[in-house]
């Protein structure tokens, strides 16, 4: 009971704290890759804690695997079970099992359907590009005749980078090369996987603001990471200029800003601030991330560990 309560409390604390501390955090803007990892850690540790809470409630009802082992070990198992006992008895156990199973099914279903939907959309768009576009002999990008300027990529095993003729008209060769490098960074960094998982979690918990914020933040951070990768050898202002040129488009009246603030932040960090974090800060981020992953497992195992510390049980465990 204590373990399950602890896990639920831990999950709630992570949600509340992350929502206050993480969105728009300055360090994430400077180190977007670490930022993506941080969001992934908090969004995975929350459902993992809830699953473990369900499992902890269910533990006392799991049929014993050690019926034949009499004596010391049997007694220890009894004690372990006792430590996971709940006042509500069987009903609480059943609810725990059902809750955990339901959550697991929901998450699994959401991830599977999201990946399938993305794959289907991609295949359709890839086939389309192959029909309406032509491959550029120089850099392998697909050129599509279209006055609205756009540069984008379609990930997958046979990935494509697409440039419209409208984009070619507004970008200098240098800007075009940087924009393509940005897209290649997306593909090389497998950013679409992070985005798909984030979208699946958000769809699995449609009423949770937490997962919606996480998805938006991850989407912004992978763009920043691709910006940094593309400009590893310089050209930050050129990339910013390319970004502005494409954002201006040709028919601004028809544009719909999905995340206009993100474009502003990207230009700002490209022309004003330098990316990168001091080593110490990077290590503390990794440390906190590791602790957040380990914490639910430790909380779930606490009653068992406690039992193991009893003298005669310790002997049995070491036997």
């Amino acid at each position: 009971m204590i373990a399950a309560l602890g896990l639920v409390l831990f999950a709630a604390t992570v949600v509340v704290t992350a929502q206050r501390v993480l969105p728009g955090a300055a360090w994430m803007r400077r180190a977007p890759r670490q930022g993506v990892v941080a969001w992934q850690v908090v969004t995975v540790t929350v459902p993992a804690s809830l699953l473990l809470a369900g499992a902890a409630l269910a533990l006392p009802t799991v049929p014993s695997a050690t019926d034949d082992i009499a004596g010391l070990l049997g007694a220890c198992e009894f004690l372990v079970r006792q430590h996971y006992e709940t006042p509500g008895g069987a009903l609480v156990h059943v609810l725990g099992v059902l809750g955990a199973a339901g959550l697991l099914l929901r998450l699994g279903w959401s991830v599977v359907t999201e990946f399938l939907a993305v794959r289907r959309d991609r295949q359709r768009q890839r086939a389309r590009v192959a029909l309406v576009g032509r491959p550029d002999a120089v850099d392998g990008a697909w050129i599509v005749d279209e006055p609205r300027p756009s540069v984008f990529c379609i990930p997958g095993r046979r990935d494509q980078i697409v440039v419209t003729t409208g984009a070619l008209a507004v970008l200098t060769p240098r800007q075009r090369a940087l924009a393509l490098a940005h897209e290649r960074a997306h593909l090389g960094g497998r950013h679409h996987v992070a985005l798909t998982v984030a979208a699946a979690l958000r769809r699995a918990m449609p009423r949770s603001r937490f997962f919606a914020i996480a998805e938006t933040e991850i989407a912004t951070l992978v763009e920043m990471h691709a910006d940094d990768r593309a400009t590893a050898a310089g050209g930050r202002r050129d990339l910013a200029a390319a970004l502005v040129a494409l954002a201006e488009g040709t028919s601004p009246a028809g544009a719909l800003a999905v995340n206009g603030g993100a474009a502003m932040q990207r230009v700002h960090r490209l022309v004003v601030t330098a990316p990168g974090l001091p080593l110490g800060q990077r290590w503390s981020i990794h440390g906190i991330a590791a602790a957040l992953v380990a914490a639910p497992v430790l909380i779930a195992a606490a009653p068992a560990l406690e039992t193991a510390l009893l003298d005669y049980c310790a002997a049995a465990f070491h036997a």
Partner: protein, 118 residues
């Protein structure tokens, strides 16, 4: 067979350029003759396009006649709908460099850029 995708695009352009539904024979004859292309190759290509939903076919006499399900412009419009981020509930199928912004936001971006010359 590297050329098959290229041939699909070629056949599609041909169908987009003609109003009437075309038979395999007609497509074969309309294609450039620089290579000796087999009737069955064109049939395979049209079959692929049909399977992918890019063409529909109807039987006329003993032969199938093919025509595009959607115009080239419609396909481009659909692609750009995703690419420009206009569709609200998009998946991660496509990642764009930056979305087109409303005029005033784009102007703010331009101003920020101009404030920081090289």
């Amino acid at each position: 067979m590297k050329g098959l995708g290229e041939l699909e695009a070629q056949v599609m352009n041909l169908l987009w350029a003609t109003d009437a539904p075309q038979s395999v024979r007609q497509v074969l004859e309309a294609l450039p003759h620089e290579r000796n292309r087999a009737y069955t190759t064109v049939m395979t290509v049209l079959d692929n396009l049909h399977r992918k939903g890019f063409v529909e076919r109807e039987r006329l006499g003993r032969a199938w006649n093919y025509r595009p399900t959607r115009s080239r412009e419609e396909h481009v419009a659909d692609l750009m709908g995703d690419a420009l981020g206009a569709s609200g509930d998009r998946t991660a199928a496509l990642m764009h460099f930056v979305e087109q912004l409303p005029a005033e936001e784009a102007a703010q971006l331009r101003a920020l850029l101009d404030r920081h010359p090289e």
